[in-house]
């Protein structure tokens, strides 16, 4: 082979390589395959959605060591069928509502104001879809405080519950907290003090193997001999890095200022409770945004990994506030606000669970005229359709990274949004305060996307 032809072959190879490299980098392919994921959208048949209410206000009657019903609650339901009651040891308590029509438009709320010698206050909580993994943040088990966890299993399958409890000094080694069996269609209540005595700021993680359950915390306060404070706290599903409390009402200095002289009233001061359940400390940024005129206040704090932290909110003006928290680690949080009506001599507490950012239809029953707070964590404005008071429909825009406060009427309230929106209803009555959240169905059961693998 001559030198010339050898070099020609080499040059041809190099030229071809150069051209192919150019086409890899710059020439788009003219081919296509038409291969796309194979999916089918299925509307399940006669979907059953069951939402569970915890039922009566419970507690210890007299010196009894058994938790029993103290006062009934009022349950208002929309779109649901006649309740099936859940069994307790010897009585029944709590209810399961199943949808009578559209599974997305079923909601129930239980509420009551109690004024007995051991419990005084107002309670209102949404009823919700059972969960397999849920977090309950709130309450206290110090002297005079009682916190009761009520676990309701509305399904036909028994549930086996494991509790994990954290306190201000870290994780609590709680005897008897594993393998709690809740039979089908039953409810059980346990005092958190039994697991974590004298704990000022407990956080409970409740994991169910088997049936999903609805768990709530009921917390009551007795200062000396004076009862003053009742609320029921709903669960949140998972730790998150963005947490919002779309509306909280901070009482005036005038109403609670005098109480603070007595140290046992320190818990009427608004506070936020945090837990970073992971292994790393969380750095959080709290934004307190007034609905009234004023600049938002921003506070930065560090939450130690594995122990709960209560941060009091002081020196804020009276009125409605939106509180949002950004964290670098997944955290769980709840907010507490106080209430005092000096004229009636009623002191109450309200615990607000973090409102999840949800898309789709969130529905809740509003027990009376209240205020709905909406928070948009997203980077763009969100258009939200609100239907309340039966047939009052409004279309509102929640600004990006902003909040919106809307008065809503009694009755069924639906919040429909295509982008994630958090909602909370603040109920302020003359007997006390409470918060409610509108929740979406756990799985959008109207249409399920099935991917064929």
């Amino acid at each position: 082979m001559s030198i010339l032809s050898k070099i020609t072959i080499g040059a041809a190879g190099l030229t071809a390589l150069g051209f192919s490299a150019y086409s890899v980098a710059f020439i788009p392919t003219p081919l296509s395959t038409g291969i796309a994921p194979l999916t089918t959208v299925i509307s399940p048949w006669s979907v059953t959605r069951s939402i569970v209410c915890s039922g009566d206000v419970v507690g210890y009657v007299g010196d009894s060591a058994i938790i029993s019903s103290i006062s009934p609650t009022t349950r208002v339901v929309s779109g649901g069928d006649v309740p099936a009651d859940l069994a307790r040891d010897s009585t029944t308590n709590g209810s399961v509502f199943t949808n009578s029509g559209d599974s997305l438009h079923v909601a129930a709320t239980e509420y009551n104001s109690v004024d007995t010698e051991s419990i005084v206050g107002y309670l209102a909580t949404e009823c919700g879809d059972p969960l397999n993994d849920q977090w309950l943040i709130g309450g206290s088990t110090t002297t005079g405080r009682d916190t009761i966890v009520t676990i309701s299993n509305g399904s036909d399958v028994e549930a086996r519950i494991d509790l994990e409890i954290w306190g201000s000094a870290g994780k609590v080694d709680a005897p008897g907290s594993q393998g709690i069996v809740i039979p089908a269609k039953s409810q059980r209540s346990y005092s958190v003090a039994g697991f974590a005595p004298d704990e000022a700021s407990p956080v409970i993680r409740l994991v169910s193997n088997g049936a999903a359950v609805w768990a709530t915390l009921q917390t009551t306060v007795v200062r000396g001999l004076v009862p003053g404070g009742l609320d029921r706290i709903g669960p949140v599903a998972a730790p998150n890095t963005s947490i919002s409390f779309p509306v909280l009402h901070l009482p005036s200095e005038k109403s609670i200022g005098k109480l603070l002289v007595d140290p046992s009233y320190s818990d009427v001061v608004a506070a936020l409770r945090f837990l970073a359940p992971g292994d790393a400390d969380a750095t959080i940024t709290i934004t307190l945004d007034p609905y009234a005129e004023g600049e938002p206040q921003v506070v930065t704090a560090s939450v130690p990994a594995g122990s709960t932290l209560d941060l009091p909110i002081t020196e804020l003006s009276e009125g409605y506030w939106a509180v949002s928290v950004e964290s670098d680690q997944p955290i769980v949080a709840a907010a507490r606000v106080g209430f005092n009506d000096a004229s009636k001599g009623i002191t109450d507490l309200g615990w607000a669970s973090a409102a999840p950012a949800q898309t789709g239809v969130a529905s809740v029953m509003v027990p009376g005229g209240s205020l709905l707070g909406l928070t948009n964590f997203g980077a763009s404005d969100a258009t939200v359709t609100i239907v309340h008071g039966g047939d009052i429909a409004e279309k509102v825009v929640v600004p990006a990274h902003g909040n919106l406060l809307i008065p809503v009427a009694k009755g069924m309230l639906t919040v429909t949004s295509n982008s994630p929106i958090s909602n909370t209803i603040f109920v302020l009555t003359r007997d006390g305060i409470a918060t409610l959240r509108g929740l979406t169905a756990p799985i959008d059961a109207s249409s399920v996307v099935v991917i064929h693998g």
Partner: protein
């Protein structure tokens, strides 16, 4: 006295031009008696007064002699042919034996080669006990080494001096043996009748051709072989008792058939000539019976005395000499310098094995590997072999499609370790580094004979990120292609049948594993068949035998043909300019930004390219240029196919894995780099290790992925479904398991039958399907209703689909758990390694599926594969003396050669 009554018969048939020489030599030796020329030429011949008898050209030698004897009363006949010439004194020497020894009936001369007068052509004949005929001295230089021989079993027909009484009593030569073995048979019968046969070394004649050539003219080796086998069969059956004749006949043909196969494997011309001759001989029943009757009537003195026969040790000695001769001839003809796998390569292979075991040691001893694109193979070789030509796949709830070439390849490969088909996969992954080194080293032989350059190529090949990303992502197809590609390059660059056989097998492995490399193989084969070996085009046959059903099935959407085989798995391959780093993922390096790692990868490619340009332009190595053309083909394929979605896996669209395509470019670049480095003689000693070290450093992350546990592949059990399901389906086969996996916006539903889908069941047809089967809609309906509390009749739906188990791939706390549990007719079994398992309460009767394979596919693949394998079986020993070319530094390691 013999000379008083002698008839000299000269038979002329094929060489009338030599007849005058024969007659002149007779006259010169003053041979007495009448000379009769039997003219069988069909033409007239010039004679000097001798008697002439004209006969038909088909007349046998024996009959010709008979015709000549009719008119003669001579007591002795000397048989000569037209190609023989008598040397002085030959007749006298022969006649003196007959004169002095009355018991000797036949004498023969020493036949010398007419073309080479000092070489013995023939000097007495013998045979083995089993009937193989042999010349006592054949084509040996005459140094009087046989001159003490006299008493022999037989002598050849040329120059045979025979008493007339012997000739007539034995009826001359057996008419059944006109071409070969007539003289041997004649002498054997003479001995049986009590006569002696002697060869007389002092009687010398020259002969030009063999008895067969004298009869038939030019004959090919296979014709001679066939005739020899026919004569042998005749001999053996005639001399033996009739009772054992059928058994001997059977043994003869079977033995000949076996030797035929051996010759076939050794790629000899006309391997079955012996068998055809044996069959012809065995079937000539009338002649055998006739000859046998005559032999019995004449036999008075059975031939005994082992000294007359060829002994076994003699036989072995003769065969060894023959083979040695053949080998010497072959080696003399083969003067192409080649890269040899010698001590240096052995040492580096050992080093690569150690490195491989350190980096891939986690895989050693695993029963199976899975993760990424890898799922376990079937547990038995039977199941693995069932995949060859299988038209049914359990993927996607069961589907029927064209047989898949890669499944067939896996079936074949898996049955290599028939006791555990997974072992071959584990070994492939654990030994990927040493296998790649050997492959790269051997493959470098296609462009260089310099072992230092080859070591650089081999080391680079074992360290490339294309290999290690494939290993850590479980891409068995890419690993197979990586190992096979350089070997293919070496094989296709050769021109022998052996290299063609290997090229065809390796091209099939590459093509079937990575169909995207099909254009590269096509270009390589076309270049080869245009530039040198037209038969190279046959190298495509095995690949086509594997792939024709798939190619036919892809006609409607040809681009999907190029999808990766096996289980589709998403790639993280960059596109556009970054893909010119020739990295199958984004380049990465610990503690360094992606941008800097990418830049480093670019620099490596640029340096390799520069060195390759030097190799092409300065070192004038045209084969590197050819490799670059192949690399360009691969890059163009990537440009066309890279941005496309080619397959579906777990509901996601999957593109092409570019590793094997980059491999083609890398091989050209590595070869060019290695040639340039090795050519810089003063610096090669430190440049080569630096080049390898740079490659190792740049590829550090993928290289160490397995060792650091970063790889997706890990040792697992052979099961893909929970043990409970496996145990139940073993007892009651045919049941299906519905696997549900919650996703961000819904649920993924997958139906698997029996103990789960294995690697061989992932056919290309399943991976590239674009439409849903009817039963898949039912599965979707069931899945959607299962994960919500609904009024759906789950029992009816699972019975319809034959589902016996439901697995939810989620934590026990997932919301779907309670929804599934809310449906009647399901019993929770518990949490398994795959997820939460439910059993269907009702006994589900599984409908059997048609799993019959495509027999046409199996037949074609089997035939083509057999031919390719036979072509690829090495039949010659390695060269004893390496051929050096001027590039190779001559070292003292000539003795330690391996291959």
């Amino acid at each position: 006295m013999i000379r008083d009554s002698l008839a000299v018969v000269v038979v002329t048939r094929r060489h009338p031009e030599r007849l005058s020489t024969t007659l002149l030599s007779l006259a010169a030796d003053k041979v007495p008696g009448t000379v009769t020329v039997v003219n069988l030429t069909g033409n007239s011949v010039r004679l000097n007064g001798q008697a002439e008898i004209v006969g038909s050209p088909t007349l046998s030698l024996s009959h010709a002699v008979d015709r000549a004897m009719l008119d003669s009363s001579a007591e002795t006949v000397w048989i000569l042919r037209d190609d023989t010439s008598v040397r002085p004194g030959a007749f006298t020497a022969l006649a003196s034996i007959l004169d002095t020894s009355p018991s000797v009936g036949i004498v023969g001369p020493k036949q010398m080669d007419a073309q080479s007068p000092v070489t013995i052509r023939e000097m007495g004949e013998s045979m083995t006990r089993s009937g193989h005929a042999f010349q006592i001295a054949e084509r040996e230089l005459d140094q009087a080494q046989f001159d003490r021989t006299s008493d022999v079993l037989a002598v050849g027909e040329a120059g045979m001096l025979v008493r007339r009484s012997v000739w007539t009593s034995l009826n001359g030569f057996d008419p059944a043996l006109p071409a070969l073995g007539g003289a041997l048979d004649f002498c054997f019968r003479a001995r049986s009748a009590g006569w002696l046969v002697e060869v007389v070394p002092t009687a010398v004649i020259d002969t030009a051709v063999t008895s067969y050539e004298a009869l038939a003219g030019e004959v090919s080796e296979s014709q001679a072989e066939r005739e020899e086998a026919r004569a042998r069969a005749h001999r053996v059956l005639v001399y033996g008792p009739p009772a054992v004749r059928p058994f001997r006949a059977f043994g003869l043909t079977l033995g000949a058939l076996f030797r035929g196969f051996v010759r076939f494997l050794r790629k000899r011309v006309n391997p079955f000539a012996e068998w055809r001759g044996s069959v012809a001989g065995v079937l000539d029943l009338g002649a055998i019976a006739r000859s046998h009757r005559f032999y019995r009537t004449m036999m008075t003195n059975p031939v005994a005395g082992g000294r007359l026969f060829v002994s076994l040790s003699d036989l072995r000695h003769r065969r060894a000499l023959q083979q040695d001769d053949e080998r010497a001839q072959r080696e003399a003809a083969d003067d192409t310098p080649r890269l040899e796998f010698r001590a240096v390569a052995m040492w580096f292979t050992g080093l690569a094995t150690v490195v491989g075991l350190v980096l891939g040691g986690r895989f050693l001893g695993a029963t199976a590997l899975s993760g990424g694109a890898l799922i376990p193979m079937p547990t038995t070789a039977t199941e693995a072999l069932d995949a060859i030509g299988a038209t049914w796949s359990d993927v996607a709830g069961g589907m029927t499609a064209a047989p898949d070439g890669f499944a067939a390849l896996l079936g074949i490969v898996g049955s290599l370790t028939w006791w555990n088909p997974n072992l071959v996969v584990v070994s492939l992954f654990a030994l990927a580094i040493p296998l790649s080194f050997v492959s790269g080293f051997v493959g470098a032989g296609s462009v260089t004979t310099n072992s230092r350059a080859a070591v650089v190529v081999g080391a680079g090949w074992a360290l490339l990120p294309t290999l290690h990303v494939a290993v850590s992502e479980g891409r068995i197809t890419a690993v197979l292609a990586h190992i096979a590609l350089p070997l293919f390059a070496r094989a296709i660059s050769g021109s022998t049948t052996l290299s063609l056989g290997w090229a065809s097998i390796l091209s099939a492995i590459v093509w079937v594993s990575v169909p995207a490399l099909a254009p590269v193989i096509l270009v390589a084969v076309i270049i080869r068949s245009v530039t040198g070996t037209p038969s190279a085009i046959f190298a495509l046959a095995p690949a086509l035998a594997f792939e024709w059903p798939r190619i036919v099935a892809s006609v409607t959407n040809p681009v999907t043909y190029f999808a990766d085989r096996g289980l589709p798995f998403p790639t993280g391959a960059p596109h556009g300019v970054v893909s010119l780093t020739l990295w199958p993922t984004m380049p990465s390096f610990p503690g360094v930004d992606t941008e800097i790692a990418t830049l480093a990868a670019f620099v490596v490619v640029a340096v390799c390219l520069s060195l390759t340009v030097i190799a092409v332009v300065v070192a004038e190595n045209p084969r590197v240029g050819a490799l670059l053309v192949l690399g360009a083909t691969a890059l163009l394929t990537w440009a066309a196919l890279g941005p496309l979605t080619l397959a579906l896996s777990e509901g996601q669209v999957v593109g092409l894995f570019p590793g094997p395509l980059y491999d083609v470019v890398w091989f050209g670049l590595l070869s060019g780099t290695a040639i340039t480095i090795a050519a810089i003689r003063f610096a090669a000693g430190f440049l080569a290790p630096i080049a390898v070290a740079v490659l190792a450093a740049v590829g550090f992350v993928p290289l160490t992925a397995v060792a650091t546990g970063m790889s997706l592949v890990s040792p697992t059990s052979v099961r893909t479904l929970p043990a409970y399901v496996e145990a139940e389906t073993t007892a009651h086969p045919g049941g299906a398991t519905l696997i549900l996996t919650p996703t961000a916006d819904g649920i993924r539903a997958e139906l698997q039958r029996d103990a789960g889908v294995t690697l061989v069941e992932w056919t290309a047809a399943a991976a590239t399907r674009q439409t849903l089967a009817e039963h898949e809609a039912a599965i979707a309906e069931l899945a959607a209703n299962l994960i919500v509390e609904s009024g759906f009749d789950v029992v009816a739906a699972v019975s319809e689909a034959g589902i016996r188990f439901i697995v939810l791939e989620a934590l026990p706390t997932a919301p779907e758990v309670s929804a599934i549990a809310s449906h009647a007719g399901l019993t929770s079994v518990g949490v398994t390694d795959r997820g939460i398992l439910w059993r269907v309460d009702e006994v589900i009767e599984a409908t059997p599926v048609n799993r019959s394979p495509d027999l046409a596919f199996r037949l074609i693949l089997g035939l083509v594969g057999l031919v390719a394998l036979i072509a690829a079986v090495p039949t010659s020993l390695p060269r004893r003396r390496p051929v050096m070319d001027d590039l190779t530094p001559v070292t003292g390691e000539v003795d330690d050669e391996h291959s």
